[in-house]
């Protein structure tokens, strides 16, 4: 036993020595070090010029948590996650169930629904800022048909988030739909067939056969939706830039607006560290609790 294992270990070691250092080096250089640097900067009051000197300890974190706009941004992130899970995923799943079947036009429709996902975020944002324009936009034209004055959705703190959520659902449901379609098509049709033979109705097949079989995909889709929501930035900028009155910031757009644009590198780093902690905690706990049967 020992004799047979030795050459195998040696080979493994060579591979390790050969392939690990470059990966480790790149990972350290571009992932670990910037994270460490951000953590280091977050203890300073620093405008990005020269080297940071003014050590203020945990003050930046206090400033972040004291900031009303950060609270709103955090809530908005949660809101985006909730809407992604409760509106976007069911929508994507039901469309996938319809479009996974082969019928005339199915491919066309899949393409059509997937198209928004291909569009660049900035372009999407710009297009929708025109759609929402209360004077010249598509929305205004629709309202005018009914002789009404269109609201400026993006210009009011009460409706700005609603407008952004609509764009998010519109843009990303196609992606999740495609995930589900791929999973549905890879599914063993015999199981459904067998259930039907056993007299299960449509709802029972969906509830007890299809959805359980889709579970890994649903988990993956939820994971993407949550991580995507946490990272959301490039749709916000062209639409509202976080305004009006900081009502539509996400944590990332908050970081950019209050850290980068104001040359408060220490403050921005603190936001970055907080975001990092949230993402890492989420990613690891999600993997541990929900995705462990997949390995």
């Amino acid at each position: 036993m020992l004799m047979t294992r030795k050459p195998y270990d040696a080979g493994k070691l060579t591979a390790l020595l050969l392939f690990l250092p470059p990966a480790l080096l790149l990972f350290t250089l571009f992932v670990v070090m910037p994270i460490g640097e951000a953590a280091w900067y977050s203890g300073f009051n620093w405008n990005g010029f020269g080297t940071p000197k003014n050590w203020i300890g945990w003050d930046n974190y206090r400033f972040v948590f004291d900031n009303k706009a950060f609270g709103t941004a955090f809530k908005n992130n949660l809101l985006i996650i909730v809407v992604s899970l409760l509106v976007q995923l069911p929508l994507a799943l039901s469309l996938a169930l319809i479009l996974a079947r082969a019928f005339k036009g199915a491919v066309m429709l899949r393409m059509l629904f997937f198209m928004p996902y291909i569009l660049a975020e900035i372009a999407t944002g710009l297009i929708f800022s025109f759609v929402y324009d209360g004077d010249f936009g598509l929305l205004a034209a629709i309202y005018r048909q009914f002789g009404a004055q269109a609201p400026h959705l993006l210009a009011s703190p009460d409706t700005s988030m609603l407008a952004i959520l609509l764009v998010i659902v519109w843009k990303y449901f196609g992606f999740h739909m495609m995930l589900f379609i791929a999973a549905l098509q890879g599914m063993d049709k015999n199981l459904v067939e067998a259930a039907r033979v056993d007299g299960a109705n449509r709802w029972q097949i969906l509830r007890h056969i299809i959805i359980p079989l889709l579970r890994p995909t649903i988990k993956l889709s939820i994971f993407f939706a949550i991580v995507g929501s946490l990272q959301l930035f490039d749709l916000i900028m062209p639409l509202t830039r976080g305004g009006p009155a900081d009502s539509s910031h996400t944590m990332v757009s908050f970081l950019y607006n209050f850290g980068v644009m104001r040359m408060r590198v220490g403050f921005g780093s603190a936001v970055g560290v907080i975001l990092f902690v949230i993402c890492v905690t989420f990613a690891f706990s999600y993997k541990k609790w929900f995705m462990r049967d997949e390995d």
Binding site: N45, N47, G48, A155, G243, R262, M263, R264
Partner: protein
Amino acid sequence: MTVFRRLLGSAVGLACLAGTAWADTTLKWLHIEVNPNQVKIWEEVARDFEAKNPGVKIEMQFLENEAYKAKAPTLLQSKDRPHIIYSWAGGVLKAQVEAGVLEDITAQVTPHKDQLSASAVKAFTVDGKIYGLPHTVSQVGFMYNKELFAKAGVDGTKIATWDDLLGAVKKLKDANVTPIVVGGADKWPLHFYWTHLAVRLGGKAGFDAAMKGENGGFEGDVFQKSGEHFKQLVDLQPFQQGFLGFKNPQAVGAFGDGKGAMILAISSFYHTQRALAADKTGLSDDKVGWFNFPTVAGGKGEASDTLGGVNGWLVTKGAPKEAAEFVKFFISDAVQKRLAQGNFLIPTFKGAESGLGSPFMRNIAQNIAASKYHQNFYDQDLGPSVGRVVNDATAELAGGTMTPKQAAKAIQDAFKQGN
């Protein structure tokens, strides 16, 4: 193979030789100007300088305004930094000086600077050292549409006090005219109201005291009152529908389209309202009027005090000597007159304002010349961090989500946090 290698070698050698012969020095000039007509003239000026100084090549680089502000700290600390950069003076300039990324060009510009407006040069002087030169100044005031004013029976030339302005807004509303358009999404167009009220209410002394933290700093009486006055205006709902979603170019365009009677403008909007109007012609000279920001009863500021920008060019650390020479060339009588003739800017070179083509711009030049206290834009003067809080707070005042007291407190808190 060897033949190929030799050929390649000689080609590279030649290219190097040609390179050195072509330009001993390349000046990298970073600007943020978006008006193509003005950029065209600037390019000609650069070519002109190259012709007069053999061996010097000028490379123009462009960054969009906000992108430039975001990138500047990283850009300036790289080895490949541009040699000449755009600046609004103020707090950002001070931070750059402290970081040691700028070149002291006092000696090089010393006789030349005396020909420029002294107050503008002072904006580019930190602790007695000059780091750049200003090429233009601007004033903030009300631009109005004469036709819409006539429709509502308002005389723009008679608006002198804050109450006059409020009265005019009411009359315009009664006549179903949108009194004021503003680019609220950009926030800084709204911060003009609050800051100009502070200029009127506190004068130079009020601002200086706040900077020293006296009289409650920016939370003091002057600044709370500024907020209260601004709120009087906001309560009349004078702005176009959805103003918090309008970016400045949209608002200026709307004014050019005749969709609003007034806009609190930087004097350079005189040009941009035409370019940004839907029909690209905007309002003609005879339809546009100007009145200075109204005075406030009991205010300590002079009526002649102005709020506006001072813009110019900084020379960065380690830039070749020619950089300062080019800045001087760019801000010389001939070039300044030429830009003034196109009404692109209010020149800083003394006497060049005689080149100003339009009476509108000449009036602005006179206002600035007569001003004893020209306050730089707060969002520049207070530095990027506090300045943006001023913008945020005034936008919230306009949106009704903050009270004057809260706004003043937010600004003072940011000032104390400092940067």
